[in-house]
């Protein structure tokens, strides 16, 4: 079975530069993020502010997230944004106007997910509490400011 285009459309198609690639670019641009397809939007929206998520113990000493939680800081941050977006949307708010309670709820949801992934052998024996923090960096007055970290969630280390 073969599909043939109307003659005028076929002529335009024949003249298009890099047409196979253009077709794929157009397809990816429209489809966006539907695995395995992607429009690769990383760092397409740049802002004067950026934040990270990290986990500490009860004394605020950082824990190596890859080794302990099988989830990196970047992945945790993306999960947090997704949770926050869902929570604030259901409360009729925009992501930018999320309240501290919304942020804490999103933090608890992220914490609940990543503690499921704990590698007990990688968890230092001295750790009894886990705290999830959000730290923001901002470009202001010609310098890079590190804002005070915000504690989003805290819970005891689950027993295996």
């Amino acid at each position: 079975m073969s599909v043939s285009l109307p003659p005028r459309l076929a002529a335009v198609w024949q003249r298009l530069p890099f047409r196979a690639m253009l077709l794929v670019v157009l397809f990816l641009f429209i489809v966006k993020e539907r695995y395995p397809f992607s429009n690769f939007p990383m760092y397409s929206n740049v802002d004067e502010e950026a934040d990270i998520l990290y986990v500490t113990d009860q004394a605020d000493a950082a824990l190596p997230m890859d080794a302990v939680f099988r989830t990196g800081s970047g992945t945790a941050k993306k999960m947090y944004k997704k949770e926050l977006s869902t929570i604030s949307k259901s409360a009729g708010r925009k992501l930018e106007t999320a309240t501290p309670e919304d942020r804490a709820a999103a933090g608890r949801a992220v914490m609940a997910t990543i503690v499921e992934r704990i590698r007990p052998k990688a968890m230092p024996a001295s750790v009894s509490q886990l705290r999830l923090y959000r730290k923001t960096f901002r470009l202001e007055d010609g310098g890079l400011a590190h804002l005070e970290p915000e504690r989003l969630a805290e819970l005891p280390v689950p027993t295996p």
């Binding site: 690639m21 670019v25 990816l28 695995y35 690769f40 397409s44 929206n45 890079l144």
Partner: protein, 300 residues
């Protein structure tokens, strides 16, 4: 080194498959098979839910693969299929297990609330090759039965060609999206990326507890102090992405474009601790194609 008659007779803006030799393509397939197997995130145990479904997870429950990660038997089946593909026998059937696990595992991984972009390009290349082997099409391609059992040189060149098309399209769309998502202000706003540099390096610190090198702080501050330098630095990367289509023109452009893409990834890796090894290896295999250049230098 020459390009195929097919390519030579076309204008550079309407390129087609290069004159890859059978041996060259055998080596490409071997490299790609290894890359595909490495790219599949076989350790699926952490993904027991799909709270934020993506792709086919919107209508299929894929959590079974998180609850029962593929064992040695299924990995061996995938490797066996990839071996068939490398040998050029029954490639449609051979690629099927790898394609299945790439899509199912990749989709489940991306349904956890965080989209990761390290595997999409390789999976799309795999899908493109699968479709070329599945659907016999174009002049010089054998009858379906022969095409499916042992595709000839033309079909193999098409499979490689569509892989390079996927690479080119991935970079071009990435550049286009930077422009459209920022209302075409991306280059102007590029100095803000210094904040992203700081973010990714602290993010990497919290992943590993390894402090970023001291020079990175200097680089970040320099980009803040000199916005036009930041525009030049990040603008060069944007240009590499937007001009990604040149790798389709001929072998020389593929080499030059491929090296530029690798340089882009290595610099991102250095300053942002973001490693796109799968993209680097795909580029090395299909665009830089060292064996192809070495074969061309060999005396007849």
């Amino acid at each position: 080194m020459s390009d195929s008659a097919n390519t030579i007779n076309r204008p550079s803006w309407q390129p087609g498959p290069f004159d890859w030799s059978a041996l060259e393509m055998l080596l490409m397939r071997a490299g790609f098979a290894a890359l595909v197997f490495y790219t599949i995130k076989w350790e699926t145990g952490a993904w027991t839910t799909q709270k934020f479904p993506n792709g086919i997870a919107h209508f299929l429950d894929l959590t079974w693969i998180g609850q029962s990660p593929p064992g040695l038997g299924l990995k061996a089946l995938t490797l066996g299929g990839l071996a068939l593909y490398v040998a050029g026998w029954l490639p449609t059937l051979g690629l099927l297990p790898a394609l299945f696990f790439s899509i199912v595992i990749g989709t489940l991984g991306n349904s956890q609330g965080a989209i990761n972009h390290s595997t999409q390009m390789v999976t799309m290349m795999l899908l493109a090759q699968f479709l070329v082997y599945l659907i016999p099409r174009g002049p010089g391609v054998e009858k379906p039965a022969d095409h499916w059992t042992r595709p000839g040189l033309t079909a193999q060149q098409q499979a490689i060609w569509w892989s390079t098309v996927v690479i080119a399209a991935s970079y071009v769309v990435c550049g286009v999206v930077k422009l459209t998502n920022s209302n075409f202000m991306w280059l102007y706003d590029a100095p803000y990326l210094a904040v992203q540099l700081l973010k990714t390096n602290w993010s990497h610190y919290h992943d590993t507890l390894e402090m970023p090198p001291a020079w990175l702080q200097t680089v970040t501050q320099t980009l803040v102090d000199h916005p036009n330098l930041a525009r030049l630095f990040f603008g060069a990367g944007l240009l590499v992405e937007l001009l990604g289509f040149v790798v389709l023109i001929n072998r020389r452009w593929a080499l030059a474009g491929g090296l530029a893409i690798i340089a882009l990834h290595l610099s991102i890796s250095q300053v942002m601790s973001l490693n796109f090894l799968t993209h680097i290896f795909a580029t090395l295999i299909f665009l830089v194609n060292v064996p192809g250049w070495l074969m061309a230098r060999r005396p007849p």
